[in-house]
Amino acid sequence: MKQTTKGYLAIILHSHLPFVRHPEYEESLEEDWLFQAITETYIPLLTMLERLENDGVPYRITISLSPTLVAMLNDWLLQERYVKRLEKLSELAAKEVERTRWDERFNRLALMYHWIFNTTKRLYTDTYKRDLVSAFRKLAEGGNVELITCAATHGYLPLMSINPNAVRAQIEIACEYHERNFGKRPQGIWLPECAYEPGLDAILKACGLRYFFVDTHGLLNATPRPRYGVFAPIYCPTGVAAFGRDMESSRQVWSAHEGYPGDWYYRDFYRDIGFDLDYDYVRPYLHGGVSRVFTGIKYYRITGPGEKQPYDPHAALLRAEVHAGNFMFNREKQIEFLNDFLGRKPIVVAPYDAELFGHWWFEGPQWLELVMRKSAYDQKVYSLATPSEYLKLHPRCQVATPSLSSWGWKGYNEVWLDGSNDWLYKHLHWSADKMVEIARMGDWGNAVKGRALRQAARELLLAQASDWAFIMKTATAVAYAVRRTREHIANFIRLYEDIVHDSIDIEWLSRLESKDNIFPELNYAVYAESDNALAGSSGGLPVSKK
């Protein structure tokens, strides 16, 4: 990191998918979420970062990998199925090469997809040996990439904190799993949905975390007033640092109107042959085999008003370059100005969903690579930094408590707490309380009981995933989200009863273990901590029953 620059840009990618693993079905629609993300986002990101490494580019990036995602990347069944899926897609792409023979505009795209699927398969099986987690670990060991964690199953913490043990378990299990996979405890955490509430930092601290992120208003509305706005982190009274999201750099990428991904030359996300082509022809390649879904083969560019035009990868790459240059230019201006104005080196924090790059915004990984290269060689105003690096160089920061906030619609808890999903919390809270109760009872050396306790924790964690509430609210795959929540809670209830009655059905338990097999080494004792070890809980008063 160049010391002579006027400030820092910290690019944060948050990667997460809920745990979708269905051994009970031959193919499941939801597993394809993972497969698409591997092909379109994770492998392109890895190869992009490896190119930067090989070329010796001085870059920095912070990537959070949610524990559920890591668990899925580690899972042999999903690995197996992913390879099969790639083979299927490669076959479809080969057919497309034939079918589009008379139309050069589409034919070269069909060839491109054929190449992408085959290359991806070769990378996945031969280069990475199906182990993307180790590939990320290797990058992190190079020092340019900082890997951080997320809550164990991406639980929405402010709506869970009525039981602080449940929150602590989400954090501690995540940190342990991170250590197991990446060799050391994480320094930082991406809070699920960027959702923070005062007091949460005490739990982060107890788990050894040094920093997290809040949305812009969470930092701006901190108490007392933050002297440098979002351009310097603040320390919570517990000493954990909070970095605030910069709006300007966010908007340039996220905004539906001004954002880069909406450029007319970029690939159109929606025009997928899974929807566009004759049903009988594509049906064998639709994952799940029934309804029309994405295949990943998309032939059109966004175009703008009027008839959609075929996608032109070269023209799109040129746009990505222009956009990367524009992004760099804007950061230069911004950071130069802020440096003068604040009298301190500002840090501009730009967090994005990783899946935005590649999956939603096809050219995103190229854009990101160009931003990194340009930042390294085409300007001298700012340097790229990770939050840990920044804190090392600038350990003196103001002490203030961020305010409750999230990065969801409207900025608070509403997305995860409204008429479509509020019924969840009764069950989640009840289960969390019971989990604490049985964890405190312990297993007393009874191996089966230990297994049941671990499985109960897994079921609770899986039920807590914020994804379910989000899906219910956005009304996309509601039935699936409802079913998942129900199943996990129902499984939990049965396990709870069986545990306290010493009547564990081993066969059933084994089935559950092999189905919901996340976090094999989970330590359920984290639920048993006594309450007073958890300072700053919001669950103040005991419930009185008069």
Binding site: H217, R227, E355, R494, V500, G539, L541, V543
Partner: protein
């Protein structure tokens, strides 16, 4: 002891018997069950109790569960003991209402857990949410306590403002009541003022104004919707400068500042610059382009060329080999662009001695109106 037991229902006794590990319990009559339970209770309990008094559990447990080496998880023996003892006093252990278990077995969720409880959750600076459940027992007690006033009593949420107060039930800054109707078990409450701490009772209110609380919620504090008024002596910043920092943080123009600022920043925050939604995988199965774009129409044209020959023959289409099925048939399918396509199809016998060429020509023209 047995007399006391006989007052219980058979199902309660069965539960108890199961907990105590009484064998053959399901076939016993109530009296026998009670006797067996009384006998089992005289014996020292097998699991928990015995272990607590010995000194091994703490150690055993440490050895068995691989515990990370931090102050966090590692407990002193004494703390461990406290945890265990606490567990011993958990009275509700295992007494789930029958319906809860039944629902779980059908992979359904129980509608109630048979426990009295009210929970307060924050939604945003202006709204909080409560959900509650009152057990049948507690409701019966309330009925007894209210006597003749019972039929006229109404369910009420009492919302206390307990900001900066160590609340004891009487010293709230203020409170207001919300009458609950229609058997609701949850409610959204508009509190109006951000950055306050609330606590909510669910209770019964009689026409005479008497309030009988059934359960009290946790405390919860709504967030601010604007910057704090509290300034830091050490990190002091004049108002005008803070306004600019605020504007800059919100991604607004450098020159901006004034009273509308907060509003503008909030709009920027709450509006289109959000997370997740567009890239979410949950959305994948919906073609968003079709949303809100009114009427649309798409048309594609494909040409299918198919035929049959001897299974061991070789066939080419436009000079490229075609894969024959086992019975010698083939199908090829092409996206058909506008213009003229000449499609020479050649079949050659296996020994190369015979050859047939068929060449269709296809012209496509597309017109679009509207």
């Amino acid at each position: 002891m047995k007399k006391d037991l006989l007052k219980k229902t058979r199902r309660d006794l069965l539960d108890l018997a199961r907990k105590l590990g009484v064998t053959g319990r399901s076939k016993m009559k109530k009296a026998d069950l009670a006797a067996a339970i009384a006998k089992a209770m005289r014996k020292p309990k097998k699991a928990g109790k015995k272990m607590v008094t010995s000194k091994t559990p703490g150690k055993q447990r440490k050895a068995r569960v691989p515990v990370r080496q931090t102050t966090l998880v590692r407990r002193s023996w004494r703390e461990q003991q406290a945890v265990v003892q606490h567990a011993k006093y958990e009275v509700k252990v295992g007494k789930l209402p029958h319906e809860v278990r039944k629902a779980a077995e059908a992979l359904e969720l129980p509608s109630a857990y048979g426990e009295t409880r009210i929970v307060l959750l924050v939604r945003d600076p202006y709204w909080v949410h409560v959900y509650w459940e009152v057990s049948r027992d507690d409701l019966l007690k309330a009925k007894q306590s209210l006597r003749e006033e019972w039929p006229k009593a109404k369910s009420v949420l009492r919302v206390y403002d307990v900001t900066d107060v160590d609340f004891d039930g009487t010293n709230a800054n203020s409170y207001f009541d919300i009458e609950i109707s229609g058997g609701a078990t949850n409610w959204y409450i508009n509190t109006g003022v951000p950055n306050r701490t609330y606590c909510v009772d669910i209770g019964l209110k009689t026409p005479t104004g008497r309030f009988l609380p059934l359960a009290r919620s946790n405390r919860a504090t709504t967030p601010r919707d604007a910057p704090s008024e509290v300034t830091d002596v050490e990190w002091m910043v004049p108002d005008w400068e803070f306004e600019r920092i605020y504007a800059l943080s919100g991604g607004l123009q450098y020159g901006m500042g004034s009273a509308e600022l907060v509003q503008l920043v909030q709009k920027a925050l709450g509006g289109e610059v959000s997370s997740g939604a567009p890239a979410s995988f949950g959305v994948s199965s919906i073609v968003g382009e079709r949303r809100g774009r009114g009427f649309w129409f798409r048309l594609g044209t494909e040409l299918i060329v198919y035929g049959a020959t001897q299974p061991d023959a070789k066939v080419t289409l436009q000079g490229r080999p075609v894969h024959l099925r086992q019975d010698g048939t083939f199908t090829a399918r092409f996206e058909l662009p506008d213009g003229k396509q000449v499609i020479p199809a050649i079949a050659e016998s296996a020994d190369g001695s015979e050859r047939i060429e068929i060449t269709p020509t296809v012209t496509k023209k597309t017109r679009r109106k509207g």
